[in-house]
Symmetry: none
Subunit: 326 residues, 2 copies
């Protein structure tokens, strides 16, 4: 899930110097996009799972002026109501493989039953192109030593701002959104809906528990002394969610991220049936596992190799590359 | 991703009482599945995100006997190399919406550039149908004792058939699909593309390493004595993949499932950038973590609480409910 094409509305840490939001250029509207005159420059991104591809093209010839375009192609979902028609009327089937009761085929359908959704951004600016550009991802195996020598100095050098977290904990912002609070300064936390969840349906339920205690940056800082805090989050978080939303603990996925997107300890609660972004094995650590590991060995997360993925444009990757650790 | 809407085209165990795939019977390979004579009974599941639909059908008429079939349709990913052709040669484009620089269209392609991957399970048993039917999911926390008292007796009582696995290991089926083999009976394995992957693009690369040694049911059976086997799979699997497909080890997600879908030890290799079904934290265990845990403690997976999700219709869930363990 490293490179989800879905919008990323989660909050991240903001680096002190916010040089982000570019200018507000606006381009003229075009009624008919001259697709046949598009020359494809490169593939910006694609997703085999979603059956989408993002292209950078240029429109030349009579109708174009060489302007850039982003063209997004997406295969369309099957429609229940015409699926019988698909299978019986028009089928051309080619056997690929057969083993026991299983076989696979290539099926060819007439175009009108198999359309492609096409989205065009034209003219597109460099900023649009960057937005859709795929980044390679690399797996890092961070030993305890790597954390001390590479990751920790990197985190400390960046002086990330997590003011928005403190605003929540101090009720200076979003106080009306808090679902539950245990106010204990050492072992307490605030439970709040994640921004990704609009709270309109339970299907994609997503909440975050943010601990009151400051200075616990991530999983790497946890020892047995944090067990009371972690047990509170697990137990009281589940209780608050069943009380407010009617979703039982057995239908929740409760986990930490490593690396997290901000370095103040927090725990994710998502509906188990929801294929939430960031719940894959190379990023998520079940809170129940974390508790059991700390019970067995207080130093588990100081010593243990932790695996995570970094995108090619992330500065931390460069640090690992410089140390020849990737 | 317990209840991933993603296609589950992987092969599962067939129960012993299943006439179709019990013991050593082999169902005759059907070169042409009589798709045109399939009557669709119902939609078992569909995913708008994945562009898949799972159908329960029956084959009647001249070529059929009324047997059930599961037919899985999945739109195929775009292929980078023919995308320019898609856009320039054959396009029929219909404007849907235009607003400022953004516009959307319906695009119609010739069938040969827009095929549907079709997987057929035929004849299918009630168990196959249930497997693909959408269900609620529940999280199980299985202690080492639970495994001995609930899960293991359940697995043993079912006498699952994994004849298709043995067919591969003995080169009775799919021999031409093998990417790599270490023939050692104790520490060797076969590496083969997963059925979910059509091998046409690397984006959703998916292979399976199946160990030669029989009797290792799952993660729960692993001890330090299996470290040579696991290290071979990790090292040689990566080497074979970079050699054949040019994908480096740092761009692979290598993991086991618990619970697995069949009880003969196997390891999944997927492209890290691919949001593969079944790679979420409540099911996947990174092979590198498994190796490190066994190095620290040979009994780790015998003693450890393991978390996994079960669907409402799975008989194992009922066993946990009867024991009041969920």
């Amino acid at each position: 899930m490293a490179e989800s094409p879905a919008p990323k509305r989660k909050r991240e840490e903001n680096e002190g110097e916010n040089g982000a939001a570019g200018s507000h250029e606006e381009a003229p509207a075009s009624d008919t996009f001259p697709l046949a005159e598009l020359s494809v420059r490169r593939v910006l991104r694609e997703s085999a799972r979603d059956k989408t591809i993002f292209l950078h093209g240029q429109v030349k010839g009579a109708s174009g002026d060489g302007s850039d375009a982003v063209v997004i192609l997406e295969k369309t979902p099957f429609q229940e109501e015409n699926v019988a028609e698909l299978l019986t009327k028009y089928t051309k089937l080619q056997l690929q493989m057969s083993n026991d009761i299983y076989s696979t085929y290539r099926l060819f359908l007439p175009p009108e039953l198999n359309e492609i959704k096409t989205t065009v951004v034209y003219p597109a600016t460099e900023k649009h192109l960057q937005k859709y550009l795929h980044q390679e991802v690399y797996l890092i195996q961070e030993t305890g030593e790597d954390y001390k020598n590479i990751t920790l100095p990197f985190i400390e050098s960046k002086s990330f701002s997590i003011q928005w977290v403190y605003n929540i904990l101090e009720k200076k912002a979003e106080a009306d959104r808090i679902i539950y609070e245990n106010p204990d300064p050492a072992n307490g936390f605030v439970l709040i809906p994640d921004l990704k969840w609009n709270q309109k349906q339970l299907d994609d339920l997503y909440l975050i528990a943010i601990c009151h205690c400051r200075g616990i940056k991530s999983l790497r800082d946890l020892t047995a002394e944090h067990l009371p805090l972690l047990r509170n989050i697990l137990k009281e978080g589940k209780e608050a969610i069943v009380k407010r939303f009617g979703i039982a603990g057995a239908q929740l996925r409760i986990y930490l991220h490593y690396q997290p997107s901000y370095y103040h300890l927090h725990v994710h609660f998502t509906a188990l049936s929801y294929d939430a972004p960031g719940c894959s094995v190379e990023r998520a650590h079940l809170l129940s596992d974390v508790i059991e590991n700390l019970e067995l060995n207080s130093q588990y997360y100081q010593k243990r190799t932790l695996t995570f993925a970094l995108r090619a444009d992330e500065p931390l990757l460069k640090k690992f590359q410089e140390s020849e650790r990737v």
